[in-house]
Structure formats: structure tokens, C-alpha cells
């Protein structure tokens, strides 16, 4: 058990939180029963201590990632999805910190390892792609230097010429033509799409088995997004990597992922296969999220079914279900405002889903609404 767990969270927050903390984190063991997990996150808590307030970005999150599985983590900004990514990689900067939890990567708990040990894992076993291709590359270093750095840091024995050869190869792999010549360019000479290809090349340089991509296509134009997504799909297949794709766009989840977790106010409120979420979104938030964006496949006339209100303040969470005040089901129900829903595994039309809602069972069985 990680030493970080000694710092108990219980007791520092409101009543609802205590209850939540005591709720044992049941997890869908069916997913883990396959034996070999690429990544397993257990009871992860991440907080940002801002002097006047403590923001609970990730609240007791657990999930598993099988080898070569592609998991989509869907949420709005401020739902804690980026904090989740950084916590897994141990890249949180103060005032953020992991308050508790385990991250088991290839069977080994990496939470609480020294920076030295962690840095030998990052990039080699687990890699990261960030959203903004503008700022994800150092503007004063050449593309080649940054690619070679990614290779060299885990292969110190390689000579310069070998590094360069490998960098050219990598650029070619991500479909950048004239790789040899373009290696000496600076990031500002690349277009947004090309920069994101470079970011992908850097992430895959050491053949990691887990890739965390935080909104990898959000800043791109839609046709470029399609190109980059296809590229990522091909490379992830070739490298046999498992992926956590963080996004706010359920369309991208549909195109890329096998399974999906919907994140709201620091919790994974619904986790299931992709088929389940599009067939029968069980948590009212998942359903509302699907309905409130214009969907070309089912155009509505008249007003969109918008979600009223806005996400709760993560430093002052309400008692009960955090979605209750915006929820079409529980807005007026006492139980939703008073009791935190526990995680339950329910049977949908296409397999299981684990959902945190008082009405999960009914909603999974019958037609929603």
C-alpha cells in the first residue's frame, strides 16, 4: 500500500464526503477477470490546495485498462479528467497533489515512486499526448531535437547518427513527407496537424504499452482531426498499445474507443462498453450529454434538450448526488439530494455498465426517460 494512503481524506470534508469515503470502491471485476491488465487505478484522489479552498479534482476513482483496450474518458472542462491523466503519470504540479490511491502499471504500483524511478517509466511504459499542438512542443528547439530527446532519454547508448535515423523513421511513420529535411524545422514552421503528428511520434517513440491522450484532436480542424484520428488508430494498432482517450466529444469516443467512462465532478459516473452508452445511456448525465449536442444522425427540430445550470464547484460540492440539481430524473427527489449514490453494476441490453445513480437499475432495464 502506498504511503500516500496514510494521509486519510476522511474527516476533512463535509458530511456527504464522509459517506462517500466509507463507501467501498466496488469495481467491475468482470473487466479485470481477464487477468492481464495494462493499467489499474485504485481509489485515486487528487486535490488542489488553493489556500482558501481545496478543489477535489479526482474523487476516489478506480478503473482498469486491459491490454490494447481503448478507453474513452468523457467529461466537460473542470470535471477532473485532465487531473486524472496527470495523476496517473505522476506529473501533477503544486498546488495539485495525489492524496490517495494506487496506480498499477503492468502489475507494479507506481504511485509514490521517486522522480527518478518514475521518469524511467514515463515515455517507455506509459506515454502522454496533450491537447494543444501549439504549446506541446518547445518553440525554441527543432522538431528533430525534441524527437531525438524522446528516444535518447531511454536509450542513452545510441549515437547521434542512430538517433537521427530513428527520428527520421518516426516522422515517416506519422506520414510527414520529406522527413529528413523537415527534422531541422522548428515547431512554428509546422501546421497544427503536423505538430500533433509529431506529438504522437514522440509519445510512441519507445513503444509504450499505455498511451494517455488528453483531447488529442480538440484544437484541430475537423478534417485534420479525422486524419490524426486515423493515424492514431493505425499506430496504436501497430504498437499494440492500450489507450486512455480523454475528450469532451462523444463522437470521437464512438469512432475510436472500445469502452467509455463518463466523468462528472471528479467521479466516473458511468463506465461501460461503447455500445452500451450509445444504446442505453444509463446515468442521466450521460444521456443528457448525448442529447444536448446537435447530432446529425437525429436532427431535432425546436430547442435542444439542454442541461440546465452548470457543473458544481469542486471546492464546495453539494450533499447527495453531485448531478442532482441539473438532473431530469432526480432534480426534485429528496433521495438524490441527500444520499450519495453508490456504484452499481447493472445489466443493459448489451452487457454490463457500472453506474452511480439511485435509479441505475430501472434505467438500464427499461427505456430511459
Amino acid at each position: 500500500m502506498s504511503p500516500l494512503r496514510l494521509r486519510s481524506w476522511t474527516g476533512r470534508t463535509g458530511d456527504g464526503e464522509d459517506e462517500l469515503a466509507e463507501t467501498p470502491a466496488k469495481h467491475d471485476d468482470a473487466a479485470g477477470a481477464g487477468g492481464s491488465l495494462a493499467l489499474s487505478v485504485r481509489n485515486l484522489r487528487t486535490v488542489y490546495e488553493l489556500g482558501h479552498a481545496t478543489v477535489q479534482a479526482v474523487r476516489d476513482v478506480s478503473f482498469d485498462l486491459r491490454h490494447t483496450e481503448r478507453l474513452g474518458v468523457v467529461g466537460e472542462s473542470g470535471s477532473g479528467k485532465s487531473a486524472l491523466a496527470l495523476s496517473i503519470l505522476g506529473l501533477l504540479e503544486p498546488p495539485g497533489r495525489v492524496a490517495a490511491g494506487e496506480v498499477v502499471l503492468n502489475g507494479r504500483n507506481i504511485m509514490g515512486l521517486s522522480e527518478r524511478r518514475l521518469s524511467s517509466i514515463r515515455g517507455r511504459e506509459i506515454a502522454l499526448i496533450l491537447q494543444d499542438p501549439m504549446s506541446a512542443l518547445d518553440p525554441v528547439k527543432t522538431i528533430g531535437a525534441q524527437l531525438q530527446q524522446a528516444i535518447a532519454v531511454h536509450n542513452p547508448q545510441l549515437r547521434r547518427s542512430a538517433l537521427r535515423r530513428r527520428a527520421v523513421e518516426l516522422l515517416g511513420e506519422v506520414d510527414i513527407s520529406h522527413a529528413e529535411r523537415r527534422l531541422d524545422d522548428y515547431p512554428h514552421q509546422y501546421s497544427g496537424g503536423m505538430r500533433q503528428r509529431v506529438a504522437i511520434a514522440m509519445a510512441l517513440a519507445n513503444n509504450p504499452k499505455v498511451l494517455i491522450a488528453d483531447e488529442p484532436t480538440t484544437a484541430l480542424d475537423v478534417t485534420t482531426q479525422a486524419q490524426v484520428l486515423s493515424l492514431l488508430d493505425r499506430l496504436v494498432d501497430e504498437h499494440r498499445a492500450a489507450v486512455i482517450l480523454i475528450t469532451h466529444n462523444l463522437g470521437i469516443v464512438s469512432e475510436f474507443c472500445d469502452s467509455v467512462s463518463v466523468m462528472y465532478a471528479g467521479r466516473l459516473v458511468e463506465s461501460s462498453s461503447c455500445e452500451h452508452i450509445f444504446m442505453r445511456p444509463t446515468h442521466p448525465y450521460s444521456e443528457a450529454l448525448l442529447r444536448c449536442v446537435p447530432n446529425p444522425e437525429r436532427l431535432v427540430e425546436g430547442p435542444l434538450p439542454a442541461i440546465p445550470g452548470f457543473p458544481p464547484d469542486l471546492s464546495a460540492l453539494p450533499a447527495g448526488c453531485t448531478f442532482a440539481s441539473r438532473c431530469s430524473v432526480g432534480r426534485e427527489l429528496a433521495i438524490c439530494h441527500e444520499r450519495v449514490p453508490s456504484r452499481q453494476v447493472v445489466q443493459g441490453p448489451v452487457g454490463d455498465a457500472s453506474v452511480e445513480c439511485h435509479f441505475a437499475r430501472e434505467r438500464a432495464a427499461g427505456a430511459p426517460r
Partner: protein, 405 residues
């Protein structure tokens, strides 16, 4: 293709007397910064290239395209926030260039702009009410109490209470700030509002609220909108007519239903099929989608012929596409496109009956076999078709059957 076919300029008058805002042969170029290392004189970046269009009273006109297509520049030229390099803008049949300062001010009252970024466009030191009052003050409308009342009224129309009206912008969430931005534009009771990506900076769950608000205000006040967006799904939901822009040119313009069901230009087609749909079958859709080659060309090095030719799944390498820039023509009733081979790329996978759409709604299992047929010619690395007969290939002949139906 007969002699009576309507061409580019005519699109500005489509709709006759009910037009409120027209652009005729608009050009806009900027001096590209820097030039090259030999210190040669600065190049011209052509951002708008012969753009004509007309916005009807009471409609929502969508301007759609990717970054660098010129949609924001066009919007600013329509408002005369930017001076066009050529062509003219007519508001209610009056050429904006002929107006003196006072007359232009009077027009600006009827023609308002809503910015993309609700954070940057609001003065942090003013209260929401003061921000909304300011346009009234600038235009010298009403006395102090009237202005105050008007501001409070508009703010309540966009869903903010008089108590909230006293707060500064930083006390509001992104969605609420955009509501303030909308209230500021609408307090003058304009006839046309130009909305520049009004929801793209907002959170997903808040976007729908703002779209609904805009729709409601339009119905209540009979407004016309020019709606700029890069999000095709939003355009399809929100707009009545849509113009697709590519490298500063209108490549296609049609009614919403027509455009989205049967796009004629390969770029519109690619753009439509690139939108990820939050529904089952996403992987198949992605595999089936025709991929564009490369990225948008630089504005200073535009191709001589069709601007889309180097990336086009239909025309790449074809002689006529390389040589000649296709004019915007009316190919079907009120369906304009600028393409030598319109319609050849095939129909988008979902373009069946409107009923088929409903079947894909949440909770309804997809119709068996409804998954989209794979499209031929996905991202052909070699030029499609033989080069020799490319010129002769008639537009109707489906050499790249797009739809496997």
C-alpha cells in the same frame, strides 16, 4: 448547363426583395508579413476571393469552414469592421461604402456582432449592467433611467436576474458571460446579428443553452443571423441556409436540407463526413470516410485552378481542375457549387430518408444493414481516374461511385 444558368454574382440577389444583407464580389487581401529571406516585397494573402451572398430577412445564414477559410474576415467585412479590398456590402439595399460616419453609425445600430470569446470581449471593471448599457450610451439612446431599465430587461431576457446584473464579468461562468455578450448586442434591438462562433468557447453542456437562447430571441424579435461556425453539426441544427468556404471562396451554398443531404462539392462532402457522430457505428464510419490529402494550402500560394484541387478526392490531378477555377454556379434550384465535377464524390453515408435518421436515435437499435457502405476511393494516393480522359469525363458519370446503395 444552359445559357440562363445563374452565376456567382447572382447569388447575392437570390431571394429578391427580402434580402437584408448582401455581399457582392467581396475581395479582401492582406500584406503577408515578412516576405522571404531575400527581402523581396511582401506577398499578398488573399483572404476573400470574390465572395457573393445574400442574407434574407429572418433567416439564419451559416458560414462554415475550417480555420483560414476566411469566414471571420468575411463577417468583419460585412460589418465594415474591416474595409474590403473590393466589392461592396449592401445593408437593406444601401451600399455601406457610400455612407458617411453618422449614417454608418445608424446602420451599426441595426447590425450587431457577438464575439467568440466571452472572456476577452467584456471589460472586467464594468458590471454586467454597465456593459449592456454602454451601446445605448454610445448611440445616445434614452436617459439614464431608460437605459438602465432597458439593460435590466435584456439581461432578464437572456436569463440573468437584476441582482446578478450588478456583478462584474469575472463573477460569471463562461455561458453566463456569453449571455452578457448577447445582451450587449441585442439591447439595441438590431435587425441582423453576426454571431462569430458564439458557442465554441463554451462547455458542451452549456452550448445547448446558448443555442436555445439565440433561437428564442430570433423567434421573438424576428432577427436575421449570420452564424459563423466550424462545427457542421451545429450548423446543420441551427442554420436555414449555409455557405461553405474554402480558401476565401464560397465553394457551395444551399438550403440546409439540400446541402447536408446532397452536398455537391467534394470539400463539403469531406467536411460533412469528417464530423464524428456520437452514435453507434463510429468505427465503421471512420474507416469508410474519404480522407483529405494534406492540409489547407497557404493563402499566399493558392493553386491557379480550383483552390481545392491539391486535396480533392475527385479532382486531384485532373487537368481542368488544375488549370481552371470553377465558378460558383446554380446547379440545382437554389443549390450553388463551384466544382467542375459536382456530385461526383457521392452522397454522405446517412443521406437516406429523414426517417432513417430517427432510427438511429438513442435507444433505438440500428436498422440491420444500415451501417454505411464503404466509399470507394478513400484518400487515393494516386490521382483518381486516368489523366488523359479526365477532361472529358462528364459530371454525371459516376466514376467514383460514392454510395453503395
Amino acid at each position: 448547363m444552359n445559357g440562363e444558368q445563374r452565376m456567382n454574382g447572382d447569388v447575392a440577389t437570390e431571394g429578391g426583395g427580402e434580402l437584408i444583407l448582401q455581399a457582392e464580389h467581396l475581395y479582401k487581401s492582406f500584406a503577408a508579413p515578412g516576405g522571404n529571406r531575400l527581402g523581396r516585397s511582401a506577398q499578398q494573402a488573399i483572404v476573400l476571393d470574390d465572395v457573393s451572398l445574400g442574407v434574407r430577412r429572418g433567416e439564419t445564414f451559416g458560414l462554415v469552414g475550417e480555420s483560414g477559410c476566411g469566414k471571420s474576415t468575411l463577417a468583419r467585412c460585412l460589418l465594415r469592421l474591416l474595409e474590403p479590398s473590393g466589392g461592396r456590402v449592401l445593408f437593406d439595399e444601401v451600399d455601406l461604402a457610400t455612407l458617411d460616419r453618422d449614417a454608418l453609425r445608424a446602420v451599426r445600430r441595426r447590425l450587431q456582432f457577438v464575439f467568440q470569446d466571452p472572456f476577452a470581449s467584456l471589460d472586467p471593471r464594468m458590471s454586467a449592467r454597465a456593459i449592456v448599457e454602454e451601446p445605448l450610451l454610445v448611440h445616445g439612446i434614452g436617459d439614464r433611467d431608460e437605459r438602465r431599465r432597458a439593460a435590466i430587461e435584456v439581461l432578464s431576457e437572456v436569463g440573468l436576474t437584476p441582482e446578478q446584473a450588478q456583478r462584474p464579468p469575472h463573477a460569471f461562468s463562461g455561458g453566463q458571460r456569453q449571455r452578457i455578450g448577447i445582451a450587449r448586442a441585442f439591447v439595441l434591438r438590431p435587425e441582423v446579428a453576426i454571431l462569430d462562433e458564439p458557442i465554441s468557447a463554451l462547455d458542451v453542456s452549456v452550448q445547448a443553452q446558448v443555442l436555445n437562447l439565440l433561437r428564442r430571441l430570433q423567434l421573438e424579435h424576428g432577427l436575421s443571423y449570420v452564424f459563423i461556425t466550424h462545427d457542421l453539426a451545429v450548423a446543420e441544427y441551427f442554420c436555414d441556409r449555409v455557405a461553405v468556404l474554402y480558401l476565401g471562396q464560397v465553394v457551395e451554398l444551399a438550403e440546409r436540407e439540400t446541402l447536408f443531404r446532397r452536398p455537391l462539392h467534394p470539400y463539403s462532402f469531406s467536411l460533412l463526413s469528417a464530423v464524428p457522430v456520437p452514435a453507434l457505428g463510429g468505427r465503421e464510419r471512420r474507416v469508410a470516410r474519404p480522407q483529405l490529402i494534406g492540409e489547407v494550402a497557404s493563402l499566399t500560394e493558392r493553386p491557379a485552378g480550383c483552390p481545392f484541387e491539391p486535396r480533392c478526392p475527385v479532382g486531384r490531378g485532373r487537368e481542368v481542375c488544375k488549370r481552371e477555377r470553377p465558378p460558383l454556379r446554380e446547379l440545382d434550384a437554389r443549390h450553388w457549387a463551384a466544382c467542375h465535377f459536382p456530385g461526383e464524390v457521392g452522397l454522405p453515408p446517412r443521406a437516406a430518408t429523414p426517417g432513417a435518421r430517427a432510427e438511429r436515435a438513442i435507444g433505438v437499435a440500428p436498422r440491420p444493414g444500415a451501417s454505411p457502405a464503404p466509399l470507394a476511393d478513400t484518400m487515393a494516393d494516386e490521382p483518381p481516374n486516368g489523366e488523359s480522359d479526365a477532361d472529358a469525363a462528364p459530371a454525371g458519370e459516376v466514376s467514383h461511385q460514392g454510395l453503395g446503395q
